[in-house]
Structure formats: structure tokens, C-alpha cells
């Protein structure tokens, strides 16, 4: 079975590690994986996207529009920017907090993500909004945002990776000293 997942956010938010974990978890199950990353200029605070496709017979590393089972968005506007990738009844996991571009601060614009979340609520049936800040606070590190979002995606049942498989990927692929805080993030989201 093919599963398509798109991760999107702002350069520096940790999308790449998240896409790698999905890939490793799928490979553990003997599935074929193709991914595509944004590397280069955009990593300096621009828009970044990772495509992750698992299953047999996948040709393109980038998923076609309208085919994402899950979109994992690290930032509300980035979810909206990529919404055309979502399939009809696809799942969107979005972090609540907006990352303000410098251009917005300069122009005094009040972009705070609320309008984006309202739009998502109106068009996505299967939407989960995650309060990343709160979870990071509880786990004591801003670095667990990606795991929190992944956990929510796993919980939705549409990622092709179960919560248990995610936990096992964390234990195998992330250095031991970070296990506790990341597993705690998974617990908070799925517990």
C-alpha cells in the first residue's frame, strides 16, 4: 500500500529529521521508501518541504498534488501553502504557533496564524491542531516539536506508521540522552 506524507515548515524547524524517522520506520517493515528534501538557500528561514512516500512501485520522489494521506505542518501558513497536495479526505496535523517572517514584522502586519487555522478548519475534515509550545515546555526542550507532530500523525492511523513503530524508531535512531524527552512528547500527544 502506498502512503504519501508531506512535511512542511520553515527552515530550521526540524522537518528533515521527522521525514527520516518515517522513512526508517517504514524500512524496518521492509517497505520501499522515496523521499525528497529541501536543501539550500531556503534552509535559512524560507519555506521547506519534505516529501515521504512509502510502499511499492513509487516512481517520483515528489508526491503528486491531491495525493497526500497526511500533511504534517510545523507552521499554520505553511499548511495552507501546501494544501493542494492533500487528498480528498486526507489528514492535516498542524502546529498552532505562527513563525512570523521578517517581512511581516517590518510591515507591521499582524500575521499570527489565526486566519490560517480558521481556513484549515473550514476545508480539512480531519484536522488536528497541536500546541507545540505547550508540549515543548512540558518536555523541557524546543526540539521535541517534530516528534510531537509525528506522534499526532501516527495516532491518526493514516501515516502507515503506528505509535509503537514511531517509538521504536526514536529509540533506534535518536541518541539515547534524548529518548526520555522525545518519548514524553509522544505520551503527551497520544496518551
Amino acid at each position: 500500500m502506498t502512503k504519501n506524507c508531506l512535511l512542511c515548515g520553515v527552515g530550521g524547524q526540524g522537518t528533515v529529521l521527522a521525514s527520516k524517522l518515517i522513512a526508517f520506520a517504514a524500512m524496518e517493515k521492509g517497505e520501499q521508501v522515496r523521499t525528497s528534501e529541501t536543501i539550500g538557500m531556503s534552509q535559512r528561514g524560507g519555506c521547506v518541504v519534505s516529501h515521504v512516500r512509502t510502499g511499492d512501485n513509487i516512481q517520483s520522489p515528489m508526491l503528486p498534488k491531491g495525493s497526500a494521506d497526511v500533511i504534517i505542518a510545523f507552521e499554520p501558513a505553511e499548511a495552507v501553502r501546501n494544501i493542494s497536495y492533500l487528498k480528498n479526505d486526507g489528514v492535516v496535523i498542524v502546529n498552532k504557533k505562527a513563525v512570523k517572517p521578517v517581512t511581516a514584522s517590518l510591515s507591521g502586519s499582524d500575521y499570527d496564524g489565526r486566519e490560517m487555522l480558521d481556513y484549515l478548519k473550514s476545508v480539512v475534515k480531519n484536522l488536528t491542531v497541536i500546541d507545540g509550545d505547550e508540549i515543548c515546555e512540558k518536555c523541557g526542550s524546543p526540539k521535541v516539536l517534530n516528534i510531537a507532530l509525528l506522534a499526532a500523525a501516527a495516532k491518526s492511523g493514516e501515516l502507515g506508521i503506528t505509535v509503537e513503530e514511531l517509538k521504536s524508531a526514536i529509540k533506534k535512531r535518536i541518541p539515547q540522552k534524548f529518548h526520555d524527552m522525545n518519548l514524553k512528547a509522544v505520551e503527551i500527544v497520544t496518551g
Binding site: 522515496r34 536543501i39 538557500m41 534552509q43 516512481q59 517520483s60 517572517p101 514584522s105
Partner: protein
């Protein structure tokens, strides 16, 4: 064999290692950089790996190694091949002994490059074979084939992946063991290794004879093939990542004849003729330039075939930019009458634009700000260059008036100064760029006595491409600690009017240094030194004291640090982003920002 999850660039690197590569040289450039880094990571010590000072040096190091019978790999991005083109053109005549593969990664879009140039033209221009992989799996195999062909024909071979192959990852089957290649050593032979008009004429004759033969051999190469419905009257040709998009777009519906071209030069004419047989119409799905399309059009003329060839030349396929599964679907739906891609997302609210910016705490921000303050009210031009510091062009800094190619900041400034003698001409150059191609430009200015002020942005790394070491950093890709090449000493030795080094994060010192330099005659340099945040530890964060802050927003208006944001109309420092550079504290007129 075992299955590994590899990025295209990692697959290329492992393929080269498994082909027994002995010497690897290159210069960083997106999307090629991870190839050399992966060889370095997988080096048991038997492979020599270096970041060269630029692509020309890298190619020449690789050539010398291949003259000596070693297998060599040279890596760069496509514009790097422009820099390396002088040795490339001659080396194509001279040839090699050990296998030599030159990877030049193209960047359709472009996503992180100055141009959308197509390395396949360089192959034709230099008369060299070129391999064009479609996936990490193919890249792993094909780079090994490239070494075989190179050695068989004693010629360097080009290898041209594109961004989506380089930065795509896949489960790749790789060998567990491989044979090492033992170089014979350099054997003196003037007729062979010294290029002369007479030998060049003879070599040119040989190449013209070889290439059609090689084209015939490549007609049965495993990655050049015909598939699909062989009795169809319509044909589709593709290459590289566009082949993957084409397969995805067609799905199970392969109602046309298909051809994949993985060696666009020498063109596999025999295979193409077989493909054209019985067809009425063909569409070429290519990225960058219509290389295959021109070859097929030429073949139809040469063999008097009545086949209509569509592609970029007749507007069937977009002339520039990346292909996608959707764009290919659209082309094919018109051509084959299959269902078009639908796009029914409801209208979204206006999205914030999000151009890349200098990181919070980037020393370049402070340097640009200091020069801007020093030159305030004066007629000045700021010539920029390529690197993270190109981002100094964004508001509110707005300190990059020109940017062309690596090293051009110094020399463009000289040209402007010759036309506008009443303008202060500044040029900004990064440390890696300085070593790669800045030094000759500085010598040019000193020799010709052109009045410019050079600002060296020394952040102790090649940041834009992912933080590679360079001659000024004192470490090599073999992990050795070596003597740092001093930019200050080089500039002094060239004989500049003045050379001063300041801490980039000290605004006052920077402003004073620039002010005292900019009106002097001749070439003056201010080296602004402070490490990139990626190669140093964060300092204690800064906070805004809301008692003292008068909300004048000067910190936002003048610096544009992404860590300083507006929250409900009030200025705030975002804790998760501040790197503690302290520049905002020096700008605040009320002393409201402190640790």
C-alpha cells in the same frame, strides 16, 4: 548486497567508493555538496579526499591523479563547471589513464543557483560522454558504469544528476564489499601528457572517430531503452528525474511507445532510430534545455523520417523551470488525450511571503549594518557576492546592489568606479569566496589603482553550502589540522593602502574602521571577523526590558533579525531564536535590550 536508505548524493559517493575511487576533489555547491562529504565519512583512510580552493583546482587535481592511473572523482555544481571549463576542454583532448568522473550537478528551477544551465551542452561542447541518472538507485550503478567507460576509452566522463536526484532519498541495494583499484603511477610520455597543437589535431581526429562508435555502443547500454506499447504511433521520450515524473503521470496507462535516454552524449542514434520507426509524433519531456529534442529533430532530417517532434522548441513543454508530475501530466493529457490533472482546492487566504533571511545572530547582519551607518548620506554602491551574505539584499539592510558570480563583487565595483568616480564603491566578499576567486580581483584593483573598499565577511566557514572548511579554517577533509591561510596577510602582501581587522559584532569598531578607510585612495580592506552561528556556541540570550522600551521599533526597522518580533503590537525577542549576538542592544537608543 544490503539495502540502505540513501540520498542520491550518498548513492553517487558510495558508487564511486565501490568503483575503487582513489582520489576525490571538489568545491562545495548545492546540490552537489554531500557527494564529497559522504566519501569522506565512508573513508577507511585509503581514499584521498579534499575540498579544493575552487573547481578549476579540483578538476586539475583529479586530472593529475588520473594521469597517474588512479580513479578520480571530481564534484561541483553546474556553475562550477564554468570555472573548471579551461582545464576541462583541454583534458578532453589529452585524456586520462585511470578512470575519471566529473560530477556536475544541475539545478532546474533554479532552486539554489544563479543559472539554469544544462551540463549536457558542456558534454557536447567538450565532446565528452555524459551520464544522466533518474534516481538514487540508478545513480549508484551508473557512476560505476561511468568509471568503466572512462577507463575503457581513456577519457574523462561527465556525470550530471539534477537537484531532485541529488536530494531525493531511496532504499538502495548496495554491495557489501568491493575491489580496490591500485594505481600504476605516473609514466612520463611527452606526446601524451603535454598538449601541443600537433597532438591536439591528432587527438581531435581520434575523438571525432570515437564518439559515433561510442554512441553505437551506448545504444545497447542498459539505462538507454525503449519500453511501453511498441506498436503505438505516438512516442514519449524522457530522461533524468523527468523520466520518473513521466512514469508516475502515465501510471499503468502506458498507451504509447517510450524511450529513456541516460547518455545524451554521445547520442545513442541507433536506439533512437529504432524508436522513431513507425511513429507519427513524439513528445520530449526534458528539463533545462531541449537537448534530446534537437537530436531527434536532426535524426528525422538526416534519415528523412516523417515524424513530428514536439517539446520545448514548439512550446509543447515549458521552456524554463522544473518539471513536476502535474506539468508532465498536463503535457501528456494534450498529447495522448488522457485525463488531465485536476486541482480543486478552495481559495486560500493571502499567505505571508517567506523569503530566506540571514539567521538570528548572523555576523553578516552586523557587518552590513556597520557599513551602512558609515556610508550614510554618501553616494555609494554596494557590490555583493554569492553566499549567505547575498541575503544582505533583503529589507531592511538593503546592502547588496549587485550580485553576478563568485568573486565578481571586487571587480564589478572596479568597473562601476571607473564610470562613477564620485561614488564610494564597496565590495563584500565571504571568506570562502575570497579564496575561491577573490584574490585575482584584488590584485587587479591594486595593479590598476582603482579606489574601492573591500569588506571581507570572515565567518570561518563556507556557510551557504552547509559549512565546509576552507583554506582559512585550518582543517582539511582528511581531518588533519593544518596551518590557516591568513586573509589579512594575503591582503597586506598584495600591497593594499590599508587592512584592518575588526570584530564583526562590535558595531562601533566596524563603523570607525569603515569610515577611516573609505575615503582613502587605492584599495582598502576591512576584515569583519566573527564565526557563523552554525560553527560556534550560542551566547546568553538578550531580553527587552518593557519598562525601558519605548516601542520605537528601531531594532526591527533597522536590523531585521528574525528573533525580534511584534506580538500584539509590542516588540519582543523570541527565546527559541535569539543567539545572543548583542547587535540589537547596540542599536536600541533607550538601552532597553540587555542580557
Amino acid at each position: 548486497m544490503s539495502v540502505k536508505f540513501l540520498m542520491g548524493n550518498e548513492a553517487i559517493a558510495l558508487g564511486a567508493v565501490h568503483a575503487g575511487v582513489n582520489v576525490v576533489s571538489g568545491y562545495p555547491g548545492t546540490p552537489s555538496t554531500e557527494i564529497l562529504e559522504t566519501v569522506a565519512k565512508n573513508n577507511d583512510g585509503s581514499i584521498y579526499v579534499e575540498w579544493s580552493v575552487n573547481e578549476k583546482a579540483a578538476l586539475e587535481v583529479g586530472a593529475g591523479a588520473a594521469y597517474s592511473g588512479a580513479r578520480s572523482l571530481v564534484t561541483m555544481k553546474q556553475v562550477g563547471l564554468n570555472v573548471a571549463s579551461d582545464p576541462l576542454m583541454s583534458l578532453a583532448y589529452v585524456g586520462v589513464k585511470g578512470g575519471m568522473v566529473i560530477v556536475s550537478a544541475d539545478d532546474p528551477g533554479p532552486i539554489s543557483s544563479q543559472t539554469e544551465q544544462d551540463t549536457r551542452h558542456f558534454a557536447r561542447f567538450s565532446k565528452l560522454p555524459v551520464f544522466d541518472p533518474s534516481s538514487p538507485e540508478e545513480a549508484y550503478q551508473m557512476i560505476q558504469d561511468a568509471f568503466e567507460y572512462s577507463e575503457k576509452y581513456s577519457t574523462p566522463v561527465l556525470f550530471r544528476p539534477t537537484t531532485r536526484v541529488c536530494h531525493g532519498c531511496a532504499s538502495v541495494e548496495v554491495a557489501d564489499s568491493y575491489e580496490k583499484h591500485i594505481p600504476e603511477g605516473f609514466v612520463k610520455d611527452t606526446m601524451r601528457w603535454v598538449i601541443f597543437p600537433r597532438t591536439s589535431y591528432l587527438n581531435h581526429c581520434k575523438i571525432e572517430k570515437r564518439n559515433p562508435e561510442m554512441g553505437d555502443e551506448l545504444s545497447s547500454y542498459r539505462f538507454n531503452f525503449i519500453s511501453g506499447d511498441k506498436s503505438a504511433s505516438k512516442g514519449v521520450v524522457s530522461h533524468g528525474i523527468s523520466w520518473a515524473y513521466t512514469m508516475e503521470a502515465l501510471g499503468g496507462n502506458q498507451c504509447c511507445k517510450l524511450m529513456k535516454i541516460s547518455t545524451p552524449h554521445p547520442f545513442p542514434e541507433k536506439l533512437a532510430l529504432e524508436f522513431l520507426q513507425g511513429l507519427d509524433e513524439v513528445v520530449c519531456i526534458e528539463e533545462l534545455d531541449p537537448v534530446i529534442e534537437r537530436e531527434l529533430t536532426y535524426l528525422c532530417g538526416k534519415h528523412n523520417l516523417n515524424v513530428k517532434i514536439h517539446g520545448k522548441l514548439d512550446g509543447y513543454v515549458q521552456p524554463a523551470g522544473e518539471n513536476t508530475v502535474e506539468s508532465v501530466k498536463n503535457v501528456l493529457s494534450g498529447f495522448l488525450g488522457i485525463e488531465a490533472a485536476e486541482n480543486g482546492a478552495p481559495k486560500a487566504p493571502e499567505l505571508p511571503v517567506r523569503p530566506p533571511v540571514l539567521c538570528a545572530g548572523c555576523p553578516h547582519r552586523a557587518s552590513f549594518y556597520a557599513v551602512k551607518q558609515a556610508a550614510k548620506g554618501r553616494k555609494a554602491v554596494f557590490c555583493g557576492d554569492i553566499g549567505c551574505y547575498t541575503l544582505g539584499n533583503a529589507q531592511p539592510l538593503d546592502m547588496v546592489d549587485t550580485c553576478l558570480c563568485m568573486g565578481a563583487d571586487v571587480t564589478i565595483a572596479q568597473g562601476i568606479r571607473r564610470v562613477e568616480p564620485d561614488t564610494l564603491c564597496f565590495s563584500f566578499i565571504g571568506d570562502s569566496t575570497f579564496f575561491a576567486s577573490g584574490i585575482t580581483g584584488v590584485v587587479n584593483a591594486v595593479y590598476n589603482q582603482t579606489d574601492i573598499t573591500l569588506i571581507v565577511l570572515d565567518n570561518s566557514t563556507t556557510a551557504m553550502t552547509g559549512h565546509q572548511p576552507h583554506p582559512g579554517t585550518g582543517v582539511t577533509m582528511m581531518g588533519e589540522v593544518c596551518q590557516k591561510v591568513s586573509i589579512e596577510k594575503i591582503l597586506k602582501a598584495i600591497g593594499l593602502t590599508s587592512v584592518e581587522t575588526v570584530d564583526a559584532l562590535d558595531l562601533k569598531a566596524g563603523i570607525n574602521a569603515v569610515k577611516s578607510a573609505m575615503d582613502k585612495k587605492g584599495v582598502k580592506a576591512v576584515i569583519m571577523k566573527s564565526p557563523c552561528i552554525a560553527v560556534t556556541k550560542p551566547a546568553e540570550q538578550f531580553k527587552i526590558d518593557s519598562e525601558k522600551c519605548v516601542n520605537c521599533k528601531k531594532c526591527i526597522r533597522e536590523l531585521g533579525c528574525p528573533a525580534i518580533v511584534l506580538e500584539d503590537g509590542k516588540v519582543k525577542i523570541e527565546k527559541s531564536l535569539c543567539y545572543g549576538c548583542g547587535v540589537c542592544a547596540q542599536v536600541c537608543p533607550c538601552g532597553a535590550i540587555s542580557r
